[in-house]
Symmetry: C2
Subunit: 204 residues, 2 copies
C-alpha cells in the first residue's frame, strides 16, 4: 500500500512518473519468517499485472515443493488457457535446473548454483521476464559459489524494465547497498522455540 | 521451509504430531514492507491445501483493491469450477463489509471496525474458515476501536483448528505475547527514501 509521500525528491532529471516506473531490486533478508512468502506474494501480484514471472529456487532438496509453486504454475496454465495474468516459469536447483538438457551432478551444489546464475544472466540480457524471484540466492553468494560483485554489476547494468527479488539470510552488504528496497524479517517468536515443528500449509 | 529441529521439547503431554497440528496465531508487524504480502502468501499456500480462506481487510479506502484480491478471488472461483484448492472470501471494511445487508456510515471507521470484529468472532465460533487473515487489524486495536483483551481472549478460546494471521504496525504487546509466530518486518531501505512513489505490481 502507498504509505505517504516521498521524503526527498531527488534532483536526477527524472519525472515522478519515470522514477515511479523504475525497475526495482528488492531484498528480503533476516532470520524471521516471511522472506520467501512475501517474494512469492509479489510474484502473485505481478502475475495479476500480466507480467512474465520467473522463479529460481536455489534450494538444496530436489523433492521440496512449496504450495506457491503449485498455485503459480496453475496460474501460468490459466494464462495459457484464458489469457488472464502472465506466463509463469518456476525452476529449482535441487533436481537439476529444468532448462538444462542434461542433468549435472546433483551433489555439486557449487557448480549448480553457478550454472543457475549464468542462466539468469542470460535471461536478464534477453529480458525474458518482467519479475524474477531469486529465492535463497543469498546463500550461494555467502558461500562464494556466486560472486557478489558480479551480481551487483549485472543487476546495475540490466536492460529494460526487470524487477528482481532476492531472498535469504545474511544478504551480502554490497547487495544490500545496491538494492532499492530491503526488508529485514526479524524473528520475534517462532513455534519451534516452543517445540513445534513446521506444518503443512503454514511452512510450505 | 523447515529450518531445523525444535530447540526445546515442551513437557505438555502432546505428541509431536499433535503439537505440529496446533492451529497458529501469526503476527506480521514492524515498519517494513511485506507484512500483508506474506500474509496473502500464506492464504495462497492454504488455498493449495484446500483450506477455506477468509480475508478481512481493515483498510480505510473503499476503492483500494490489491492484486492479491483479484487473484485469490479468481482461485476461489477456480475452486467452485474444478474443486481445486479451497473456497475464498475477501471482505473489506472501506466499502462497508460485504456481508452486511445495509451499508453503515462509511465515515464511522470505529463502528465499522467494531462491526468487523464482531462478525469475525461469530465466524470463529462457527469455524467458518480454516485460515483467517485480519489485514491491518493492529490499527483498530491501537486506536481503541477494538479491545485488545477481547481479541486475545477470543483467539485463545477459539474452537477447532483455525489459523489466524494478523498484520499491521505497532502490534499490541498483549497480542504479541499471545501469538505463536511473530515476525517484525524491519525497514532497511525503501524507494520512497529516494523520492520514488509506489508502483503498480510492486505496491499493490
Amino acid at each position: 500500500m502507498p504509505e505517504g509521500r516521498p521524503v526527498n525528491v531527488p534532483d536526477d532529471g527524472l519525472t515522478t512518473r519515470q522514477r515511479r516506473q523504475r525497475p526495482l531490486v528488492v531484498v528480503h533478508t533476516g532470520d524471521g519468517k516471511g522472506k520467501s512468502t512475501a517474494a512469492f506474494g509479489l510474484a502473485l501480484r505481478g502475475w495479476n499485472q500480466g507480467w512474465r514471472i520467473g522463479v529460481f529456487q536455489f534450494v538444496k532438496s530436489a523433492k521440496w515443493r512449496v504450495g506457491e509453486q503449485t498455485v503459480l504454475e496453475r496460474l501460468g496454465r490459466l494464462h495459457e488457457e484464458t489469457g488472464e495474468g502472465g506466463p509463469v516459469e518456476w525452476h529449482k536447483m535441487g533436481s537439476g535446473w529444468s532448462w538444462a538438457r542434461k542433468q549435472g551432478d546433483a551433489e555439486d551444489h557449487a557448480a549448480a548454483a553457478a550454472e543457475g546464475w549464468a542462466e539468469i544472466k542470460r535471461r536478464l540480457a534477453e529480458e525474458t521476464h518482467d519479475l524474477l524471484v531469486l529465492d535463497e540466492f543469498t546463500y550461494p553468494m555467502a558461500w562464494g559459489w556466486v560472486d557478489a560483485e558480479d551480481v551487483v554489476r549485472t543487476l546495475a547494468a540490466r536492460p529494460g524494465h526487470q524487477h528482481v527479488v532476492i531472498t535469504g539470510r545474511r544478504a551480502d552488504p554490497r547487495l544490500v547497498a545496491a538494492a532499492d528496497l530491503v526488508t529485514d524479517m526479524t524473528k520475534v517468536r517462532h513455534p519451534m522455540d516452543a517445540g513445534q515443528k513446521g506444518q503443512r500449509g503454514i511452512e510450505w
